[in-house]
Symmetry: C2
Subunit: 233 residues, 2 copies
């Protein structure tokens, strides 16, 4: 049974790393004493070791050990036998490039589809969608492919940000960008405001968190769903 | 002699399309009665014809006719004989994908290096840089290559936006993203605030416009240059 959390962000403004997800983590990883951390998104360019240490620090209070995926001599095998996964945020292009180049995207997808609990934050949530074409990140490296795990039948837009009517700036709003995506693609996009996440239990997918979730479908006006709504496209 | 303008944006807040660039356009395209418009970035998904009509409307007051690059049966030949170019903004991934797939990136580069005047705005400026890895756009399509024309020996970040200290949001700032680019690449990045542009006349490259220009180099603190500064890296 799929058991997945795809969160908009790791950290709410003014809070500690992963603090707002405490009850979510406790439920998702109940009875698990060790998970694999996927550090490839490298926020701010920090090293895989540094990033893994940060995650390990946050999971200590749950009695859960954290091993970085980069530390295994056979990472595909490690994924197969893992008890749980957390993929941290950062740059989605870096993350996807590394997973494809190491041939780890499919093993990870398979393990999660077979029931190994998975949590993603930001870039780590993007790779739960069909592809990474709705990331907000800068394309600092060229991945061999934009496809991702497709754990859910839609794309995510983490850190979804409503337009700021005060802003005297002509860069595109997030909504404009997602509409441009829909001129080229027919995949629904779930705009996850900070504090929100998607919960998958088996075949049931729900919107969760402190805000409404904004949904974009090709050829429709965007609309809002309250927390606890079952998603089906 | 290279004769190039790479502008941050086509339109300043509350102004008409290309209005603030009037003196720049008059100088760049002096004595020219027709230019080719590259409409492939398709802002908001508008058609090539619609976008070309918009550009033609803006160039009418200068007595300059505008033909869309998409209307030529042999666009590479049309580029070779063009009197000038304007590439509009929109989605850089769409623009670069189309230019590569139609094998037009190199002919355009060659014509501009041979002295045909070129103006870009936003996405149209990104393709003047070494590659498109510092665009702000969403990767809504997968280009076969991120490389661009390299008319200047650096990358551009159009619509450069300073961090907003009021924003209670944990998405990355523009500066954070450019620093992440520098963990993977050693190409200087010119952050063009709205209202600014880069002017190239032969081998001389200057910063221009109403704001300071923010420069990012690998391993250095970002710094500001006033309008009129000659750029050399």
């Amino acid at each position: 049974m799929k058991n997945i959390v795809l969160a908009s962000t790791s950290t709410l403004f003014g809070e500690n790393y992963l603090a707002y997800l405490k009850p979510v983590i406790q439920e998702l990883f109940e009875g698990i004493d060790e998970i694999i951390f996927v550090p490839f998104a490298r926020p701010g360019g920090i090293s895989h070791d540094e990033y893994t240490a940060k995650a390990a620090g946050a999971f200590k209070e749950y009695g859960i050990g954290v091993k970085g995926l980069h530390t295994f001599s056979n990472p595909a095998e490690a994924i197969q036998y893992a008890k749980g996964f957390f993929t941290g945020g950062g740059n989605t292009f870096l993350l996807v490039k590394q997973l494809h180049e190491l041939n780890l995207m499919q093993p990870l997808k398979k393990a999660v589809e077979n029931g190994t609990p998975y949590m993603g934050a930001s870039a780590g949530s993007n790779i739960g969608g069909m592809n990474m074409k709705t990331t907000n990140d800068m394309p600092i490296v060229y991945p061999p492919d934009f496809s991702t795990m497709g754990l859910v039948p839609f794309n995510l837009n983490p850190h979804y940000l409503d337009p700021n009517p005060e802003l005297k700036h002509n860069g595109e709003t997030r909504e404009t960008r997602i509409k441009e995506f829909h001129t080229q693609n027919n995949i629904p996009v779930v705009g996850l405001r900070e504090g929100n996440w998607i919960r998958v239990k088996g075949t049931i997918i729900t919107t969760e968190g402190s805000c409404d979730t904004r949904i974009f479908e090709q050829g429709k006006e965007a609309y809002e769903l309250p927390a606890g709504t079952v998603l089906s496209f």
